[in-house]
């Protein structure tokens, strides 16, 4: 669920863009025609996770890869409905507080242990354990979770302290992938290197900064109900390569060195469209869009007039259009169009309006001007610090452009934005210290509109783990969102979530920019049936097969 770019400190992205790998021969060329079975699939992505166990931390790249070796309890479909996966069936109590999951029988982890109710319980315990250092899965559960218990060999009961209607969608994410208890017991650092699940692939090696190598799980019998086929994956082995540099990644696809890439760079879209061997697949995440979060502990940003002035002055729509060359849509609402219960009424809440911005700032008392033309109040310049990751892998060129455009737009109304490039370690420290920054950029992916609660609630504020970036909450908003989570009545949910969007828009705690997308580019002449699942936009490679004659 989580953010990527700007502020984000991926220390481990380490030494970048290494074009790893060896094999140059067209993979699968020597395989018999007429079968989908076999071959070696190479998938390239931009960012490398710091840990392959998605229970730890909670960064998007972890889910994308974890989907290939971990199964979840349930699977989510594009319409938001949920279908069986490791859980064959489930029952929800009347009051919505008890969930009884019945597991598929005869499923084994790839270390040989059977999938049991106890094993699932161990997973919940692992996620909730502070030692696991979860910053995403934990946030989904902690407001609601009471316990998980094994009722029998194959039945798990999850007990909640208050109703949580999106729970099933939440559990569909790879962040909640089920791991072998033996694997988790090895401790965080070892488990990070190669967690063991029941999934279609098995990790054999993680060459840092280069690739993760996986082989097919020959005994795979637990594909989700919405998979294109049951049984083991078609391809025999899988290389998950990290090509941080945009040009390199797209170049590798063009030359056929890789079969598909994650995150087609916006600047390469024209070239991809022109190439008839390449097809693209876009998916708009359910999320809080990539946005500037305004830290309300700063006295100026505590003033709602200043926050609204910043939004009016930003021309967020123009900023996004210029930086993403029209490839990414602008999103002004607190949540993206891909999010359930999205209300289009708030899609363009604060149109670009320099006059209104100036009037609001005057009104807020920032009437003085210093020699450089910036506004002042009591001799203090209206100056805001915006730290961002200087590593181009973490802050891609288009996001850099967004930062610069934002700075230039705010200058027009006399607000100084200090762009502060930082290394990853400094950013990790800044994230924990509200006094160390005034604005941060980031996003939060989540399959439910409940993500608004995760990001803007008193509960997250008090957890003090840097996820409530605005350091702001509102009792009314909290109540609305908890009520929405408590009901399963879609009409009521829509009404409540619309109210929440209204409130968040009015508060202007953040300046939304664009929705996060999973953007795949695929060599459709070489490979078929790669699809994107909708809970986190994870690419699914279990059904993928290499094209060869006779099919």
């Amino acid at each position: 669920m989580r953010r990527r770019p700007v502020l984000i400190a991926l220390a481990a992205a380490g030494a970048g863009t290494v074009l790893g790998g060896c094999g140059t021969a067209a993979p699968g060329a020597d395989l018999p025609p007429g079968t989908r079975d076999g071959g070696h699939l190479v998938f390239a992505t931009d960012r490398e996770p710091t840990c392959l166990d998605p229970h730890n931390s909670g960064d998007m790249p972890q889910t994308y890869i974890a989907r290939q070796y971990l199964d979840s309890l349930v699977s989510m479909k594009v319409d938001g409905s949920v279908v069986p996966w490791l859980a064959e069936s489930w029952e929800i109590s009347e009051d919505g507080l008890l969930y009884d999951f019945t597991l598929k029988p005869g499923v084994f982890f790839t270390d040989g242990d059977p999938l049991t109710a106890e094993a699932v319980v161990a997973n919940f315990t692992h996620i909730m354990d502070p030692k696991t250092q979860s910053s995403t899965a934990l946030l989904y559960l902690s407001p609601y979770f009471v316990s998980a218990t094994a009722l029998s060999e194959l039945v798990v009961r999850v007990e909640l302290k208050r109703p949580y209607s999106p729970l099933l969608q939440v559990l569909a994410q790879a962040f909640f992938g089920i791991e072998s208890p033996r694997s988790m017991a090895r401790g965080l650092s070892e488990n990070c290197e190669g967690p063991v699940g029941t999934g279609p692939f098995i990790i054999t090696e993680w060459k840092r900064n280069q690739e993760v190598v996986m082989v097919r799980n020959e005994n795979y019998n637990s594909a989700p109900a919405d998979a294109l086929h049951q049984g083991p994956a078609y391809v025999e082995s899988l290389t998950w390569r990290f090509l941080k540099d945009n040009t390199a990644r797209f170049g590798a696809l063009q030359s056929g060195k890789v079969h598909a890439i994650f995150n087609l760079p916006p600047e390469s879209v024209p070239a991809a469209t022109a190439d008839d061997k390449i097809t693209t697949d876009d998916f708009i995440h359910s999320c809080i869009p990539f946005a500037f979060d305004l830290n309300t502990t700063h006295p100026a940003l505590a003033d709602i007039r200043v926050r609204r002035a910043l939004v009016h002055a930003a021309d967020a729509e123009g900023i996004v259009r210029s930086a993403y060359a029209g490839v990414f849509p602008y999103e002004g609402n607190a949540i993206s169009t891909g999010t359930p219960f999205y209300d289009p009424a708030y899609s363009l809440p604060y149109p670009y309006d320099e006059q209104t911005a100036n009037a609001l700032l005057d009104d807020a008392g920032w009437t003085g001007r210093d020699e450089e033309g910036y506004r002042t109040k009591d001799g203090q310049r209206l100056s805001l610090r915006l730290p961002y990751n200087s590593d181009p892998g973490e802050t891609p060129p288009a996001d850099q452009t967004i930062l610069q455009n934002f700075q230039a737009m705010q200058k027009r109304v006399g607000v100084e934005i200090q762009l502060l490039p930082k290394d990853s370690a400094s950013l990790t420290a800044i994230r924990r210290d509200p006094l160390a920054f005034d604005i941060r950029a980031g996003y939060w992916n989540s399959p439910t509109a409940g993500v608004m609660y995760i990001k803007f609630s008193q509960e997250t504020y008090e957890l003090d783990n840097g996820q409530n970036v605005s350091y702001a909450f509102d009792a009314e908003l909290d109540e609305i969102l908890l009520d929405a989570a408590a009901t399963t009545d879609p009409d009521l949910q829509q009404r409540l979530y619309s109210q929440a969007q209204d409130l968040l828009t009015a508060q202007a705690w953040h300046i939304p920019l664009y929705p996060i997308q999973t953007r795949l580019a695929i060599r459709s002449d070489l490979v078929s049936d790669i699809w994107i699942e909708p809970s986190e936009g994870e690419p699914v490679l279990h059904d993928a097969y290499l094209n060869r004659e006779g099919l």
Binding site: N246, E267, A323, P392, Q400, A408
Partner: protein
Amino acid sequence: MTTLAPPLPEVEKPAAPPLRTARSSRSPLRHLGVALPGAVVGAVVLAALAPGLLAPQDPLEISLSESFAPPSAEHLFGTDQSGRDVFSRVIHGARQSLLIGLGATAIGLLGAMVLGLAGGLGGRLADGAVTRVIEILYAFPGILLALILIAVYGNSALTQMVAVGLATMPGYARMVRSQVLVVRRSAYVEAARTLGHPPARILLRTLLPNAFRPLTVLITLGVGQAVVWAAALGFLGMGVQPPTAEWGAMLNAGRHYIQQAWWMDFFPGVTIVLFTLSLTVLGRRLQQSTDAGALR
């Protein structure tokens, strides 16, 4: 970054005759050969001193509706991804680049003088120590030392300047040292000594000017090199940060859009090449005339 580095001399230079086919130099072509690079360097210096005179627009002013505009009468070098005028940015970038180039050269020279004089005048022990220091500095080739300093002190124009200065220092130091050694044993100094001039006067009046004369050439070449190194750091995203106009940083930003907006990279690049090339040509000319002068 370029290999235009100065460490060659050691080999046997100081008095090598100017090969460049003596002085058939009165042809108009020769004049053009000085005037053209002179004009380029002059323009860059002017741009650095008074960018407002040449730049039609504010280098930081964005225009979101005009991004990626190709070169035209209105935008001579086109616009970048934020609709900023590339021509104005190249003009304004001259100050940053030149400042860092000159600052780095000054730092490099200052350090080199201290090292070179200590080595050339200080006796065997000091000379041995200086030779070692120079060797150690050499063991961090090119921008390597600069990268370490940036890893330690972070990105800034000052780090960039010091880092490039340190990187150029060993080349200069070697030159100064050998030059001091040559001049020290030369007839001038012998003569001054036999005339009974005090050592301080010999040092200031005779030794220093003679030892540093060949350096003027190196400085001309060195500034160009320092500018290129600074731009290389900017290109790696380790110098002045955007949106500040700096040639290397502009090249870095333009690299990502090279397929759709070649002008973002082409013009800053050509400017750097023309500028360093001009300095090289001028430096070589200067070298020929000083060599010729020294022979008389």
